[in-house]
Structure formats: C-alpha cells, structure tokens
C-alpha cells in the first residue's frame, strides 16, 4: 500500500480546483425523513405529471428481462431512422445521448480547445456554462433583456476564440422565446462563423404559431445544431435520453466525441414509441394550460410578481430568500426550485405538476406568504 499522499495540488487542473460539484437533491424517502413531510410533491424538475405516452409506457411494462443482458444499439440505430423519417432528414444527421446534457458535452468537446470560449446568457439553463467551465473553456455570459436572450449582446460578446453560441428556446427558466424572424436574423448575423446551438428542450410545449421549428432551418444554416430531449414532454426523464440534429458535416465532427453505447435499450425503445404520439402532446398542453389558469390568478391575489412564458413552469418572485422558501415549502411537502443558482435571487420556479400537487403548492405558498406578512 502506498503511504505517499496524492499530490492533488499538482494533479488537478486549475479550472477543476475552482469548480464545485453539483449536488442533486436526495431521494424522496430521505427528504421526507429530513423534513418530516409526507407526501412530498416534486415540482422542481419540470417533469410531465401525465407520465410517458401510453405506447412508451407499454414498452416499459413489457420489457423482456433477458434483453438486459444484451448491449443496446451503440448509436441508437432505429431511433435515428425514426427521427430521420419524422423530420425528413438523413439518419446520420442525428446523435443520441444519455440525456440532452450528454450531447451538450459532445458539442463542446468537438469544437473547443484551450483558450476557446462559448457564449450564452447569464440566466439560462446552467449546464452549457458548467460543462464549458469544467472542461477548461470560458463561458462569456450576456444579460437577459426583458427575461429573454439578447441577440445583440450575444453577437457583441463573440470574439476570435468564440466557437459555440448556446440559445435556450424557449428559455428555461423564463419561458421567453425568439420567434422565427428573430432566430433567422440572428443566424444571418452570425453568418456561419460559429456553431449555433438551439436547445429546444421545451419546444413541444409551445403553442404559438410564430415559434420557430429550428429543425426546418437546418438545411439553410449548416452551422446550426438543434437539441431536443425525451425528458420533458415525453416524460422519459428517468431513462435519460436526448438527441441533437445538425448538418451532415457538423454532425460528422461531433460524432467523433460521442460516447457510443451510452443510451440503454429501454430508453431507445420507449423513445421510439413516444416520438409520434401527438395526442400525448395535446393532452399535456391542455393540462399545463388549465393548471396555469388556476395558478396565475392566485399569484395575482397574493400580490406576487411572476414570469410565465412557454413551457411547463412558472417563475415567482417572493418577498423573502428563495432558499429559505425552499426549506419552508419542503416542510409543507412541496419541492420547488430555488432560483439563486439561476442568478434570480428570491425567485422560485415551480413546475406544473398534477392537479393534486398544484393544489398542495397553492396552499403551501399561500400559508408561506401569509406567515411572512
């Protein structure tokens, strides 16, 4: 056995020394014990309360255990075929990842080297910034303008070492989006000099007609990469599966950094069945609409400022620390997302859950605000 202390100071890169590991929340049984609450409604991860589409659910129920011993398709062959058919593209224009987070890493690894940077907003999904920084690349952040991505600020932030621009459309957590005209205008100004990633994790929730389908722009802009996920609308978050699409030449580069066999068989099969269930999308949209229609008047009544855009979530501004509100709501059996980490101090984000969960949230929030005043 070696008795020498590991020289971590010398072994660990500087950018890792200054990076803090993300600590996910504990499992429900542990949280219930800690906070003394039961039931516990999770309204923190923007999960779909309706569950997966029925056909995908059937795949899970009837999964043959013997298949667990067999490696999955290394590159999700059948799913890529189905995506190609759905979007009228070549199967090689798709890469499937273990959740969309993995495909973010693929793209950054493919295009960035020492000294390079990415550009994104300061108040958006944190994973673009995190992956860039713990990979040793800097993230140039631009402030939001009226809760939305500021195209001009992003263009100004580009320098000679900028490789990728990340836009979350609609934005998590604000729900704002660029319409087709704004997106095309932005792509024209970038003029193919950098890779532009449009993360459409929540696109299936948007009903407005001016919302752009970035997939349709791929043939026009070969530097465009589109992210989508099966975690949100298709409710397969527990299986971890997402994908990216781009031009053949760009995807060919990204594929070189792609970890094959990272997506399991169950996830591939369920995603394949979920893909074309438009009724599921409609049912989910109806539910979100109904629950937002119940929630927003309550927020008005409580005198709380809120930001409700597209997507299955609403941001609420509180007259108290959001991390304190998190603990107090947890003690009442409701888990929300505190927004200090998104650089929205004293805001919380609540996911639209089941009617029962939303009723519990409404009651807990009302009590919290009444106790505060």
């Amino acid at each position: 056995m070696s008795t020498t202390a590991i020289p971590l100071k010398d072994l660990v890169p500087e950018y890792i020394k200054h990076f803090e590991a993300y600590i996910p929340s504990k499992p429900d049984d542990e949280l219930k014990k800690l906070y003394g609450c039961d039931p516990l409604y999770r309204l923190n991860n923007n999960e779909n309360p309706l569950g997966p589409p029925p056909a995908a659910g059937a795949v899970l129920e009837h999964f043959e255990t013997r298949k667990a011993a067999i490696y999955p398709s290394g590159d999700a062959y059948h799913l890529r075929q189905a995506l190609a058919e759905k979007f009228d593209m070549n199967p090689d224009q798709f890469l499937i990842g273990n959740g969309a987070n993995e495909v973010i890493a693929f793209v950054i690894k493919a295009f960035c080297q020492e000294g390079d940077n990415i550009v994104t907003a300061d108040k958006t999904f944190a994973v673009y910034e995190w992956i860039a920084e713990f990979s040793g690349f800097s993230a140039r952040l631009t402030p939001l303008s009226d809760f939305g991505f500021d195209a001009e600020a992003m263009l100004e932030a580009i320098n000679e070492r900028t490789k990728i621009l990340f836009i979350c459309n609609p934005n998590n957590p604000t729900g704002t989006y660029w319409n087709r005209e704004q997106l095309i205008n932005f792509m024209d100004q970038v003029d193919g000099r950098q890779i532009v990633v449009i993360d459409e994790a929540y696109c299936e929730f948007v009903e407005n007609e001016d919302f752009p389908d970035a997939m349709e722009l791929l043939h026009q802009y070969p530097n465009l990469v589109v992210f989508r996920t099966f975690s949100k609308m298709y409710a397969l978050a527990g299986l971890r599966i997402g994908y990216l699409a781009g031009s053949l030449e760009v995807v060919d580069i990204i594929r070189r950094t792609c970890v094959v066999y990272s997506v399991n068989t169950l996830a591939q099969s369920a995603a394949l069945k979920a893909l074309n269930d438009d009724q599921h999308i409609q049912r989910t949209r109806d539910h979100i609409r109904q629950e937002k229609a119940r929630l927003l008047p309550l927020l008005e009544k409580l005198g709380l400022k809120y930001q409700s855009g597209e997507g299955c979530f609403v941001m609420i501004h509180l007259p108290m620390s959001d991390t304190l509100a998190y603990r107090k709501l947890m003690a009442k059996g409701v888990m929300i997302r505190s927004m200090t980490g998104f650089r929205f101090p004293n805001w919380i984000r609540v996911s639209i859950g089941s009617t029962k969960a939303m009723t519990a949230f409404a009651q807990a929030l009302t009590e919290l605000i009444e106790q505060q005043s």
Partner: protein
C-alpha cells in the same frame, strides 16, 4: 486564506539554528521586494525569526521546513510548512511550552511574540494535513480624509451597477463615511488605498452604483471568508434622509441592485452562503435570515451586540449534526427557527481511551482584539487546555474570543463539556460552513451590552 498570491518566493531549509541568518535575510529582502515599508518588513522578519527559532527547538532534528513568502498586494505573508510526523501534536497549542502561571514565561514564547508583531497569525493544518503557520503583515496606508470634504451630489435614477475603477472605488469608500455610522463600516474603510489593493489582489470584490452623469450612488464589497462562505459589507448608499433628490424608493432600488449584483456574481460558485456581520440600514433584509448575535467587546466601553444575517446560496440538502448534549437545546431551537432539516446525534463519553493532550488551532486578529480557536485533536486535558488559552488571551488583551465547532465532525463534540466549564456560550449556527454546520461559541462575561440594529 491566501487568495492567488501575485508572487511567491520559497526557501526549503533544515531545522538548524545555524540557518537563522539565512531565514532573516530571506524574509527581510523578500518582504521589501514585495513592497512592505522598512518598519513592516522588519516586524515580519522578527516574527519569522521567532517562529524559526521556536520550530528548531520543537521539531525533530533534520526535519525540512518549507518557508514561503507571498506578495498579497496589500500585505506580505510568511508561511512555514512542515510534516506533522516531525513534531509532537502539542506544538500546535500556543500554550505548549510555557508556564501559564508565570507571566515572564510568556515573553519567552516564540509564537506569542510573533503574533504581536504581525496583523494576522494562523496556526493549523493545511489541506495536506501538514503543520502550517501563516503570518501576515500589511502595508501601511494613509487614513481617509473624506470627513473634511463636503458630501457629493447623489446619483440619479438612471444608474447601472458596475465594477469600479480604482479612483471610483476610493471615492465610494471615502464618501461612505459621510452617511454611515462608524461602527457599521469595516475598519478597512478607513484606508481606501488598501481596499483598492485588496480588490486588485482578488481578495475583495466591489460593485458601485454609477448614474448616467458619472455620479456614484453607493457600493458593496464582498469577499471569501473561507472556501465555502462569502461575506459582504454594505450596501452603503451615498445619501442621507435629508437628501432631497433621492427618494426612499430609489435608495431601496439601488441597494437591491447592488446586493443582487453581488448574489449573481457568486451564484454559480462553491459559495454555500452569504453572510453579513454588520448589517447596514440599506441592506435589503428580506434576502436574509437572522442567524444570531455575537458580542463585540471594546477595550473600555460596553460590548456591542451585533447581529449576523445570512442567506443560503444553495438548496439545503439536509445534514447530520453531532453534538454534546449541552448544546442540544440550543441546536434544536435554532434548527426549528431556521427550518433547517437536521438529524441530531448526541455524543457521550463512554470511557473510551483518549489522547492525553488536546490540540487547538488559534487565529489572531489583533486589530479587532479577536482570537478564534478551532479544535484539532480531542484529549483528556481539554478543559485545562482551553482555560490556559483563555488566560493567555486575557493577558494579551484579547476580549473577543470565539470557539468554532464543526458539527459535521463527530469527534469535535467531545469539547462540549470543556467549553461549558470555560463559560463559552453558543451564539450562532452557520449552515454548511464546514464539513457540517459550524457552531460559533463565544467566551462571554456577565456584562451589560449595547445593541446595534
């Protein structure tokens, strides 16, 4: 904590007194090269000499001592590092080699002598588990003369929050004396040049309100007080109640914007919390929770009761807390008040063998007459060891004595009875400030207090 020193010089040497002149020359020349004045460089050299002398008498022969001198911009720091295997653990104790009952012996105590010559002395273990003695001597700076000037015109509502340039920062610091009670301003605010150097060194960060005409409306300063905790001063708004052109709403908007700027700057960092130990009247208190108060003893006047405000930067994941039963009522009450989910586990002495000697790490802040003790090792002499340290501190005129227990480290709970016997009182809890929550205890005297709100 040394924050990315700009320059560093290192000397590795055997613990042999024959090398004393080498150490003296190394420290003096390096300190001068790093910008200390003659007086400060001499003080640091003398302190270094005392430490080296002390280590040569305590450390096993032929041990290698690593001596580093850092340029912190506004200070020079001297660090001695050596493996623990080369010395008795008791050496960590300030009181290890002196007869506490003999006042003359105090003057023979190298560590204590060194502590008198520098602004900051820290004895403890570094990240690699080696003994670390860290001394810091600051440069001298001229005191602000802002109080002699007429106050500036207040900023208007068309403002933005920016990182100030050096002159803007000095202006903000100097002007803050016009509008804020002296007891709410940190001591460093008397030396604007020092703050500029602290910001340059990366130890402090600052933001100010600047309006479209270039007027400065206020500011905030923050810094990392440990690897997990950020503390802030302010916000301080440069206007008083009688200033006609600044409404209470505008004042509040500026303060809120300054605080949010600070919060956003540390939002995706390892910071678990933001602490404010001197809440200014402009601090937007709805962002914070009150943790408790500490008493601030001054030489002659009554102690001041000072509240500590805190906000978590991350969602609380829950934790296990180990404590001696003495502190259980305090902890239960505080955890309930703060809605902190904790599993409290009580410890007890079950007759198991323990080391003969306990070990305490000391951190001096002489400018504030303050010393902080942390346990490094539990032992049978805990009560006496603490009492000896207290005797020493009292003789040194240090009135503000704190003891910090990491409730996430079960062995530290053994200090509970000894702390109670030595009149330490739990004052506040710092959630996730260490491996677990930190319990901050203070040596208190039954005196009357004044409160600051």
């Amino acid at each position: 904590m040394i924050n990315q020193p700009q320059r560093q010089a290192r000397l590795t040497i055997k613990d042999d007194l024959a090398f004393l002149p080498t150490v003296q020359t190394f420290v003096e020349k390096t300190a001068l090269a790093f910008g200390l004045g003659q007086t400060e460089a001499l003080a640091l050299t003398l302190a270094g000499e005392e430490i080296f002398n002390y280590l040569c008498t305590q450390v096993k022969p032929e041990a290698e001592i690593e001596i580093s001198c850092y340029n912190g911009g506004y200070y020079a720091a001297l660090e001695f590092i050596l493996p623990i295997r080369n010395l008795a653990m008791r050496t960590f104790n300030l009181t290890a080699t002196i007869n506490i009952d003999d006042e003359n012996s105090l003057d023979e105590m190298g560590l204590l002598l060194a502590s008198r010559m520098v602004d900051h002395l820290q004895i403890g273990q570094n990240d690699n588990g080696r003994l670390q003695l860290l001394l810091r001597k600051e440069k001298s700076y001229p005191k602000t003369t802002a109080t002699n000037r007429a106050p500036s015109k207040p900023a208007t509502k068309n403002f933005s929050i920016i990182t100030p340039e050096a002159e803007e920062l000095k202006f903000f610091i100097s002007e803050s004396h016009h509008y804020t009670s002296p007891e709410l301003l940190p001591q460093e605010f008397s030396y604007p040049g020092k703050i500029v150097d602290m910001v340059k060194a990366g130890d402090y960060q600052a933001a100010i309100v600047r309006d479209s005409t270039g007027r400065i409306g206020g500011g905030i300063i923050w810094y990392w007080s440990s690897t997990k905790m950020v503390e802030c001063y302010g916000p301080f708004i440069l206007a008083d109640d009688t200033t006609p052109s600044i409404s209470p709403e505008l004042r509040q908007t500026m303060a809120e914007a300054l605080l949010e700027y600070c919060l956003n700057a540390i939002a995706r960092s390892p910071a678990v919390g933001l602490l404010n130990r001197s809440p200014s009247p402009d601090l937007p208190q709805h962002h914070f929770e009150t943790l408790g108060t500490v008493l601030e003893y001054h030489n002659t006047s009554l102690p001041t009761e000072r509240p500590s405000l805190f906000r978590q930067m991350q969602e609380d994941p829950g934790a296990v807390t180990w404590t001696d039963p003495n502190f259980e009522p305090f902890l239960r009450s505080e955890y309930q008040r703060l809605t902190l989910p904790r599993e409290i586990r009580l410890t007890s002495d079950s007759g198991e063998n323990r080391a003969d000697f306990s070990v305490l790490a000391s951190e001096f802040d002489r400018a504030r007459h303050k010393v902080t003790l942390r346990p490094l090792w539990a032992g049978n002499d805990m009560e006496k060891n603490i009492a000896d340290h207290l005797t020493l501190f009292t003789r040194e005129g240090l009135d503000n004595i704190f003891f910090i227990i990491d409730l996430g480290q079960s062995w530290q709970a053994a200090f509970g009875p000894a702390l109670r016997e030595n009149s330490f009182t739990p004052r506040l809890l710092l959630p996730h400030g260490g491996k677990g929550d930190l319990l901050i205890l203070q040596k208190t005297e039954p005196k009357k207090t004044e409160s600051v709100s």
